[in-house]
């Protein structure tokens, strides 16, 4: 299996505060991996380093073998991102937002049109393609953001708390959609969350606390190792709550 994301010994500080402490992890193509941690555990900082919003000052981050610092163009080409904060332009339509993203990845007009049509059909918002984003619900906006992150056909999809603030129906729909994408396209997905109910048995989980990876592996293995009944109890035991 191809390694889509390889992080080795990455630490990061903001002044005296250590946001990440010697983090190492691997994600393979086709894996749906949950990065589980409480708010402030270091998930967003890790995403900012993977996407090169910040430079990693220690260790290395490779995406499909390309180091994000040394080969940032090749590395970033392979990443699709859905940030925790909504990042769509509210005053533009869905189509305009998606066209803008396509141009940021250098897609031609015709290729962009083809992909936008296909992605927008997949998220079942083709009837609203000319609507301003402002007029969409929270769940619809998230679906548009996911569609946008897939336009340049990334091999690694990063989602930072994508379901926060959404109702149960929207949350389940988005989660199912991304899990399907992962299987169908053999794409690696790193899904950061603090919502334990988003994890299914058989999935890979990385638990992060106070900037450190404290456990990782299959859900069943973590449950067994912590001698608990379910992943919620295992998580609570590991982070001490």
């Amino acid at each position: 299996m191809t390694v889509a994301l390889e992080i080795k010994n990455v630490s990061h500080k903001f002044g005296n505060f250590t946001a990440l402490d010697d983090v190492s992890l691997n994600i393979s193509s086709g894996d749906f991996t949950v990065l589980l941690g409480l708010n402030g555990a270091g998930k967003t900082t890790l995403y900012s380093l993977i996407t090169r919003l910040y430079n990693n000052n220690s260790g290395s981050i490779k995406i499909h073998g390309f180091d994000v610092r040394e080969r940032s163009v090749s590395a970033l080409k392979n990443i699709g991102v859905v940030f925790q904060q909504p990042t769509l332009d509210l005053d533009l339509s869905i189509k305009e937002n998606l066209e803008y993203h396509s141009s940021l990845h250098g897609l031609s007009f015709f290729e962009a049109k083809k992909r936008i049509d296909s992605e927008i059909r997949r998220i079942k918002l083709d009837d609203k393609i000319k609507s301003k984003v402002r007029a969409l619900s929270g769940g619809q906006r998230r679906r548009v953001e996911i569609a946008r992150s897939l336009l340049h056909r990334p091999k690694l999809l990063l989602l930072d708390e994508p379901t926060v603030g959404l109702d149960i129906g929207s949350r389940q729909m988005i989660l199912k959609h991304v899990k399907n994408l992962c299987k169908k396209n053999n794409m690696a997905v790193l899904w950061a969350t603090h919502l334990i109910d988003e994890i299914d048995m058989g999935e890979k989980v990385i638990i992060i606390d106070k900037g450190k990876v404290i456990e990782s592996g299959d859900v069943s293995r973590i449950i067994k190792k912590t001698k608990t009944k379910n992943i919620r109890d295992a998580f609570n035991k590991l982070v001490g709550i």
């Binding site: 919003l53 940032s72 991102v81 925790q84 769509l88 141009s103 940021l104």
Partner: protein, 267 residues
């Protein structure tokens, strides 16, 4: 990376800026009203107070309205530059700036494209202003409408990159409003926009030096000379130096390794 990919990216960024501008009609309206208020009210009141001697590039005595027109054009660009930086602070707070910064296209190219997109919008505003200003008999030679263009591009880039640098250094939108007051007003008043430098020198020598080294003066004077199809080497070199300096600082400000983004921790 292929050239065509850069071209598509540039087109996308300019188009987005243009669409945002079209969608925000009030922005266009206020961008025009501001200099017109200065022209219609301030200049009318001051024309009797201030006499402007014959100074290059003018070949004869000119009404005060004609004198301040280049300053008002530069003011349009100053406000536009600060406004697009304001939108960058907003974009960064709202997160949409991240979408641009995680593009695989080199960051310096993305930032310069964003700046040029802002310059393009400011040029539209300037030509609309010049059209209306002709009602006040501010009519430069026909060639001036063309020769002003390079000066507008450079001055727009300079003021835009100054704004971009400030936006990289500012954490929150609220702080930016304060900086606007500390940047826009002092820059505008301590320049040759409203009164010629020799007049300021007569009043206060130190103020003269403040005005002389104010980058905005270089924008105003470059625009003034180019509007009359003339070139002033001193001001041209000055504006190019300031543009390169601010451009360098703004790209540095958004550099993931050295810039201000890192220091601010996520914003």
């Amino acid at each position: 990376m292929e050239l065509i990919i850069y071209a598509r990216c540039f087109k996308g960024i300019v188009l987005r800026e243009a669409l945002r501008f079209i969608h925000q009609k009030e922005r266009f309206f206020s961008a025009l009203v501001r200099p017109l208020v200065w022209l219609g009210i301030f200049a009318a009141g001051f024309r009797s107070v201030l006499g402007v001697a014959i100074i290059p590039p003018y070949e004869t005595y000119i009404p005060y309205e004609v004198y301040i027109a280049p300053g008002l054009i530069a003011m349009i660009q100053l406000f536009n530059g600060m406004q697009s930086s304001l939108s960058m602070v907003y974009d960064r707070e709202m997160g949409s700036m991240k979408t641009m910064l995680v593009s695989p296209i080199p960051r310096w190219f993305l930032l310069i494209s964003k700046l040029l997109a802002g310059v393009f919008v400011s040029i539209l505003q300037v030509y609309a202003f010049l059209l209306i200003a002709s009602l006040w008999d501010i009519i430069p030679p026909i060639s001036g409408y063309f020769t002003i263009l390079p000066a507008l591009i450079v001055s727009g880039l300079m003021l835009g990159s100054l704004g971009m640098f400030l936006s990289s250094a500012i954490k929150q939108l609220e702080n930016f409003a304060g900086v606007m007051n500390f940047v826009i007003f002092p820059m505008f008043f301590a320049s040759s926009a409203l009164y010629p430098l020799w007049k300021i020198e007569e009043t206060s020598e130190w103020l003269y030096y403040v005005c002389f080294y104010n980058p905005f003066t270089y924008a105003v004077e470059s625009i003034r000379f180019s509007l009359y199809s003339q070139i002033n080497i001193e001001y041209t070199i000055g504006i190019l130096i300031f543009t390169l300096l601010f451009l360098f600082l703004s790209i540095l400000g958004y550099d993931p390794a050295r810039g201000n983004m890192q220091k601010k921790g996520g914003k």
